[in-house]
């Protein structure tokens, strides 16, 4: 049972209710900056007359979760990627790794935390829906089970092929995300990242190298010890110090 959010640009009227509700929910200060920051977990932006939202995509296999050295970020069973400031050491690797540049930082604080949308995880646990979906007057932001939302998205494209750009953003991007987007114009025009790199889950890029670690340890250990043994033995033989008891020359 994994939840998600479906956002549909054709339904969004740019009222910014979601921004309001999000600030309210997360106790964030009023501000007029239209970019993700420690004060904004979501923003409404527009390209020509198309409104769209920026927020955490809640990847199915999130880069941020995979890179966090202390497990401060976690992909919950319910779908949201949540954050535990108590665990966080403040290395900001999640910010470097996020394919959507979502995690932001409390730069002004001497005890800073990462800030990002957590899909109102507390509300979900209490059986409510996220604040942004709750307040949305047009249903542009819709909360539900991810597979149902995905089916719904494809149904909308099929029923209205003229209205929609024929792609559900987030179905496959970065290995799939819990937040899905429908748009009337191509996603590149909205500035959504696309490209070869986005065709698979980002942790796989690192895993290719990481999975070799046990091999390096085992083969490295055997190789180095063997090398030392052979070299040392040859020196012993050359020096005629081989004593037959297998006792080796002191190494210091």
């Amino acid at each position: 049972m994994s939840y998600g959010i479906l956002f549909d640009t054709t339904k969004c009227i740019g009222c910014e209710g979601c921004m309001y509700a999000c600030r309210e929910q997360n106790g964030l200060p009023e501000n007029d900056q239209y970019k993700l920051s420690a004060q904004n977990y979501t923003v409404v932006k527009s390209v020509q007359d198309t409104y769209y939202r920026q927020m955490c995509m809640h990847c199915e296999d999130p880069a941020c979760v995979s890179v966090c050295p202390v497990g401060a970020l976690e992909k919950t069973e319910e779908g949201p990627v949540v954050y535990d400031a108590q665990k966080c050491i403040g290395c900001r690797y999640c910010m470097v790794s996020c394919p959507f540049s979502v995690p932001k930082y409390e730069w002004a604080s001497p005890n800073p935390a990462i800030s990002k949308c957590v899909m109102c995880y507390e509300r979900i646990q209490e059986g409510e829906i996220p604040a942004c979906a709750d307040i949305c007057p047009t249903g542009a932001t819709q909360f539900g089970k991810r597979d149902e939302l995905l089916a719904e998205a494809h149904r909308r494209i099929e029923e209205n092929p003229d209205l929609y750009y024929p792609h559900v953003y987030g179905e496959t991007e970065a290995g799939g995300t819990s937040v899905l987007f429908l748009s009337s114009i191509p996603f590149t025009e909205l500035g959504f990242p696309e490209g070869e790199e986005y065709q698979k889950a980002f942790p796989t890029y690192t895993w290719k190298a990481q999975k070799e670690i046990p091999n390096v340890v085992v083969f490295g250990g055997v190789f180095l010890y063997g090398l030392w043994w052979i070299v040392n033995r040859r020196i012993e033989i050359d020096n005629g110090t081989m004593s037959g008891t297998g006792k080796r020359e002191e190494n210091e």
Partner: protein, 401 residues
């Protein structure tokens, strides 16, 4: 009397460099107060577009890389059993040990919540490269402390621990080499997850391999570099034949590194970036041309290798090239996608300078009081006095570099 004259001769210089040292420390401490009271936003030029800067790029990545002489030379002396390199291993291990300690201090500045630095010990995420690096750095710092401990035991004539530590030298060195291989390469793996952000001139699936090879390469270069400085500063003889041998090895590794990068450029088909009139391309050529190709050619020619000045300046270029590489990967390579130009703030530079100064001071202190240039039998009192005096110009010389 002559000792007194010598002391007087150097007192002028000494005071000057001591003043510089204390100024650097003072400014660094001021930056530290600012960083811890006001947060990273005030003290640094870092922001949401540029979460990593000088402290990660230099203090951590270069700190760890430049300290790699410790494990490479340990492998040469103890695993390959090439004993003639023994005279230069102690300074190399000391440099590595101090380097790692400074990396940890540097992290205490860079981490947003430095009081949680111990968390990776109990909060595990084996999927994280950073988690692995944290463990390796912890363990390897401990290994380095043990590898260096004979010097301390000798100084205080602690025969028993000395015996024990000598018995476990080989397993310790093997452990050190494995841990180093892991985290030197993993520092490159850190960036594997950002194919979309890191410039194609630097992003490659082979980043961990590059980081490892370049670390070995700069490890040799640093050993040669330091031996030059030390021999002047401490009036010890320069082990030139050894250094030339190391230089030859370094040149060979550079060639390997270069070949690998060329093949990789072909496979990723990113030749076009090499000739673009961009800032990144310029930085790349400075890094590769000045830091690898040129010194590789110079060091490949025996005539130049034998020349102390040529040797010194080529390895200095290797070191600078290495620093450029790490800075390019951390900073230059991210500028395009960050959409802005990051340069370190005054306070970032101040803290970094303070760490470097502390490193020099600590090395000088240990070199002065501990037997790192010779395995001894403490010197007779008179000779020791002389060492103390000749040590003094070191700071002057080192810091002028």
């Amino acid at each position: 009397m002559s000792a007194k004259n010598l002391a007087q001769k150097y007192i002028g210089k000494l005071t000057f460099w001591k003043t510089v040292f204390f100024l650097v420390i003072l400014v660094g401490l001021y930056a530290a107060v600012l960083r811890y009271s006001q947060g990273l936003g005030t003290a640094t030029n870092l922001n949401d577009n540029f979460p990593w800067g000088l402290w990660i790029g230099f203090d951590v990545l270069c700190g760890v890389g430049l300290a790699s002489g410790g494990f490479t030379l340990a492998a040469v002396v103890y695993i390959f059993n090439i004993k003639q390199f023994k005279p230069i291993i102690r300074p190399a291990i000391l440099t590595a040990f101090l380097g790692y300690l400074l990396v940890i201090v540097g992290l205490l500045f860079d981490l947003g919540k430095p009081w949680n630095i111990w968390h990776p010990v109990v909060m595990w995420n084996p999927h994280s490269v950073m988690f692995e690096v944290a463990w390796c750095v912890m363990l390897y710092t401990a290994v380095l402390a043990l590898e260096f401990s004979p010097v301390v035991f000798e100084k205080f004539r602690l025969e028993k621990p000395l015996k024990i530590i000598k018995r476990i030298t080989i397993p310790l060195v093997i452990l050190g080499v494995i841990l180093s291989t892991l985290h030197q390469s993993s520092l490159g793996s850190l960036f594997l997850i950002a194919p979309q952000n890191l410039h194609p001139l630097w992003y490659s699936p082979l980043l961990p391999v590059y980081f490892f090879i370049s670390a070995v390469m700069v490890g040799f270069a640093m050993v040669i570099f330091e031996a030059n400085l030390s021999s002047r500063a401490f009036n010890t003889p320069l082990e030139k034949p050894l250094l030339m041998e190391l230089a030859r090895a370094a040149a060979f590794i550079m060639m390997l590194y270069l070949v690998l990068r060329v093949i990789d450029f072909g496979r990723r088909d990113v030749w076009a970036y090499l000739v673009q009139p961009t800032y990144e391309t310029l930085m790349f050529w400075l890094e590769i041309g000045g830091g690898v190709i040129l010194p590789m050619i110079v060091l490949s020619i025996p005539k130049f290798r034998r020349n102390r000045t040529a040797l010194f300046w080529s390895v200095a270029m290797v070191v600078v090239g290495f620093v450029m590489n790490r800075m390019n990967v951390t900073i230059t390579g991210f500028q395009r996608t960050a959409g802005e130009f990051y340069y370190p703030s005054f306070y970032e530079v101040a803290v970094t300078l303070m760490l470097v100064a502390l490193g020099f001071a600590a090395f000088r202190f240990v070199a002065k009081y501990f037997p790192i240039f010779e395995e001894t039998q403490p010197l007779p009192a008179a000779a020791r006095k002389q060492v103390k005096v000749t040590v003094k110009p070191k700071a002057a010389f080192l810091e002028s570099q």
